[in-house]
């Protein structure tokens, strides 16, 4: 078994990463999981959170706000609608995400509200992990 796998992170507008990685931590919709070489073929949706890829150049951290992951033994593909390097997520970008999640949450009701509220909470939690506070809420 190979000890690395191909890690691809793509957004609709560009390819963010395409590197060999030894393991990738992924914020799955039903809990975090780590994909390693030889993982069973697996597809999961993502919740907002931090993706950590261990590559030969060290750990690279990315922020994703949703999308899905496709894992096979040889590669991990993350398709994220919005994604950037964790270091690039600064206050203005974070505020924008928070405001967007908040407005879409407030526009819904019933069971949809719960889902939107969870999305919002996930974003807040992600910010907390990166040491960011929403300045607008």
């Amino acid at each position: 078994m190979a000890d690395t796998m191909q890690f691809d992170l793509v957004s609709p507008e560009r390819m963010l990463a395409s590197v060999p990685a030894t393991e990738v931590q992924i914020p799955g919709a039903e809990g975090d999981f780590t994909a390693m070489p030889g993982h069973v073929p697996f597809i999961s949706t993502l919740r907002p959170g931090i993706v950590i890829a261990a590559t030969d150049k060290g750990e690279i951290r990315y922020v994703v706000t949703g999308g899905f992951a496709e894992v096979t033994g040889e590669h991990v593909s993350l398709l994220a609608e919005r994604s950037l390097l964790a270091e690039e997520l600064k206050q203005p970008e974070f505020d924008e995400m928070v405001t967007e999640a908040k407005t879409s949450r407030d526009a819904t009701s019933g069971p949809e509200y719960d889902a939107a509220n969870k999305h919002f909470a996930d974003i807040m939690e992600m910010g907390r992990q990166l040491g960011l506070q929403a300045s607008t809420v």
């Binding site: 507008e13 390819m15 919709a29 697996f42 899905f68 593909s77």
Partner: protein, 292 residues
């Protein structure tokens, strides 16, 4: 017979036209490269999205719980056409060919007794369609302020379309755009997006892997299909942007060439009439001298 001065003016005016078309051609060439790059960058995402959706769709197909976006609303009465064209003109037959295709499609549907609704993206298509299909236009998306189409634009359009689908305003949605082949060839294309078409070809290489899903297949599909619609619209917008610049480039190229030909012809005419004037003057002088 135009006077020498008229001809001179004419030549100068054609020359400045040529300068403008030449400049437009070069601008289009630069923009085309960027548009092509953007389309190129978007390809991996779209490709994988399609592969995953197809894989999922094949396994869920037929079951009663399949999402509506996949199985359709069970009817085939109201068709929504999303016609994507450019915001600016001077790009040859680009807009007309898309509109023509949409018009044919609409005519075919109407002859079968279906209802047709049209959403236009881009000013030029709207102007052309308003003439004969004006009463079918239900919405318009204005992208004239957008310098470069982003995923956000596509998502907004997709959300609007999906909202209408949820409200059961239509049963089948088709997008019309121009697929970029090369600078001289753009192919107007109609693509059905709702219900999601399932590729019938069984790919052995891709389809053989059995995936585990979390959450369930249906739940993922439910989440994925709206994204897939947005992605398809995004791809179409990018292809359209590249096609528009390609079409403008070749249109401006032939306009520049035509202007060059015209200048040559006018210059010959100008020189001829100048020569004729000189000869006439000489004859007058000579015959005047002979008369003495």
């Amino acid at each position: 017979m135009p006077s020498l001065k008229d001809l001179k003016n004419r030549i100068n005016s054609v020359k400045s036209t040529r300068k403008i078309t030449k400049a437009m051609q070069m601008v289009a060439a630069a923009k085309l490269r960027r548009a092509q790059e953007a389309a190129e960058n978007a390809r991996p995402y779209a490709k994988r999205m399609e592969a995953v959706v197809n894989g999922l769709a094949a396994s869920v197909k037929g079951s009663d719980t399949a999402p509506k976006l996949l199985s359709g609303s069970g009817k085939d009465d109201v068709h929504l056409l999303v016609v994507m064209t450019s915001e600016r003109g001077l790009c040859g037959g680009f807009n007309s060919s898309i509109v023509k295709l949409a018009r044919q499609h609409a005519a075919k549907l109407r002859s079968k007794g279906k209802t047709v609704k049209i959403i236009t993206v881009g000013k030029k298509g709207r102007e052309q369609l308003r003439r004969d299909l004006g009463e079918h236009l239900i919405a318009h998306v204005d992208l004239s302020d957008v310098k470069r189409v982003g995923y956000q634009n596509a998502r907004d359009i997709a959300q609007d379309v999906l909202k209408r689908f949820d409200a059961e305003e239509f049963d089948v949605a088709t997008i019309f755009f121009s697929r970029f082949q090369s600078v001289i060839s753009q192919i107007p294309t109609a693509q059905q997006i709702i219900p999601a078409p399932i590729a019938e070809t069984e790919e052995e290489s891709q389809g053989s892997t059995v995936y585990e899903y979390e959450p369930s297949e249906e739940a993922i599909l439910e989440d994925l299909l709206p994204r897939s619609v947005a992605t398809q619209i995004f791809t179409a917008l990018l292809e359209n942007a590249a096609s528009e610049q390609g079409a403008r480039m070749s249109a401006m190229d032939s306009a520049t060439r035509n202007a060059g030909d015209m200048i040559d012809r006018l210059t010959i005419e100008y020189n001829r009439s100048r020569q004729a004037a000189i000869t006439k003057e000489l004859i007058e002088i000579i015959s005047g001298a002979e008369a003495l």
